[in-house]
Symmetry: C2
Amino acid sequence: MTIATREWQLVSRPHGEPVASDFRLVEADRPDPAPGQVVVRTIAMSVDPYMRGRMNATKSYAPSWELGETMQGGAVGQVVASRSDAVPEGALVLHGMGWRDIAVLDAGHVSVVPPLPGLPLSLYLGVLGMPGLTAWAGLFRVATFRAGDAVFVSGAAGAVGSLVGQFARLRGASRVVGSAGTPEKVRWLRDELRFSAAFNYHDGPVADLLTAAAPEGIDVFFDNVGGEHLEAAVTALNVHGRAALCGSISGYNAVTAPPGPRNLSLLVGKRLALRGFLVSDHGDLRPEFVETVSGWLRDGALVARETVVDGLDGAVDAFRDLLRGGNTGKMVVRLTPDPD
Amino acid sequence: MTIATREWQLVSRPHGEPVASDFRLVEADRPDPAPGQVVVRTIAMSVDPYMRGRMNATKSYAPSWELGETMQGGAVGQVVASRSDAVPEGALVLHGMGWRDIAVLDAGHVSVVPPLPGLPLSLYLGVLGMPGLTAWAGLFRVATFRAGDAVFVSGAAGAVGSLVGQFARLRGASRVVGSAGTPEKVRWLRDELRFSAAFNYHDGPVADLLTAAAPEGIDVFFDNVGGEHLEAAVTALNVHGRAALCGSISGYNAVTAPPGPRNLSLLVGKRLALRGFLVSDHGDLRPEFVETVSGWLRDGALVARETVVDGLDGAVDAFRDLLRGGNTGKMVVRLTPDPD
């Protein structure tokens, strides 16, 4: 017997912006689970900006996806068959084999998670998962945020950025400023997430917009965008300022390298630190992160918004839309309803 | 009674490369010392790249020099008259009122230093002074150098760079690579300072020269040059690499901002840290620095070369030559011989 599933594969490496024909949705028959394996039906899968890098052949921190192979990524699902005593049928699990209806994988490659009464399980892909820990580690460890700091976050309406700004506010930032790409996102940052200020980076040079939003300068910069945002932030950072570099989505589809910040000589006199980081180095922070953030979610202190796309068929379009900023908060693809 | 002296003044702000007419050497009569003051005859004065920034009106970490006023800078001298019990006549002192034959200043603004038997007192302006502590703090604290690291230093034949490379070697670097601007300097780095490799940055793209000199990559970058050197180093840095940004002499005479490094998105995946620093934040390291480096000087482990210009008249030309790379090791202007 075999297991029928559908899977998204990469069939050509995008040049610039990915197009639909770079991908195909195939029907596959996967072998039954071997001893020690489990079969997981996907409830929701993640689309993340970092996946753009995996579509390139060039070496990056995450391995390249192979052409003609099924893509991978974060997913939450339910075990529908098990040949492992450790992970029984019915368990809810997180794993890295998204982009498919059903995954067959070693029990050691899944993490059992508790149910989230009253909340969607897809939060394990966002606020309670990799994007949440990214925001936590980047702000508190990499940028060494301290109460009283003025914080600027680029891509502030995204999965990570929207949490960075709220974490900073909840931990006593003197000012929280965010940038986003639409008027609706800017209003959401100001009105619902209660940022001190937010601006639409299409409205003028980022340096001018940032100066207006943070006239006293900033102490911490959390960067998801790169390019012009980074240059503006270097100018705005106060003495002993720190930047956590998480991503540079502005350049992910770039065919030629975008211009670099021309003001790095300011790092010397202002004693600034720019640090790139990957969440995978900071797993030791997970217990304190889960405890604190779960509490904020339960008592309503934290807004965790999702942009949900329904159905595996729409996953590639969801990813392409993500790179164009089509999401507010975390973008997920929901394949099946949460179990009761 | 007054004190006759000669002093260098800034009379116009350089546009690009400083020219002789931006400065004037004046004869002045300074008032006799007030109670608590000392009169110091300059033995040697320092010319340093950071002084280019003080010639601009724009805000920087060191205050701008005023037009029509006497310039300032590090100097070592001997007290020739004293109205302070703390600093007697005959004492050797360090102070910040260079660019003049004689300085009249508060005793609280000088530091008494011991004689250096067998060594020139000008070493207090170099290996035992600000450039030495800059190399020490930047390498060991800012870049958190550890034995086994491969180190690249730009401007490696300069006052700071030549010490960085030697400090790294003496503390167990796996490889020490330096860049400089003449074949003579490159030979000096290889043959006398015993760098593992050195290259002339005029010989090709720095990225290519660095790859050839450090095919396994680098763990620490100490930057005195900026621009193309910084971009090449970001590419060459290994995972968890660190850069201490000390200066960017390549841009000091620039009229427009030079292009920035186009590869900063590499900071994320490689988890690199770029940190600017000023030696003034790291004075607490001075005791361990002086003890260790004095020992290395005494036992000959450390080469501390100077480029010496004779006479106050030549000080401006010395400074201009410094910005063109005319020095090997620390450049100083000697006004009078060391006292016996």
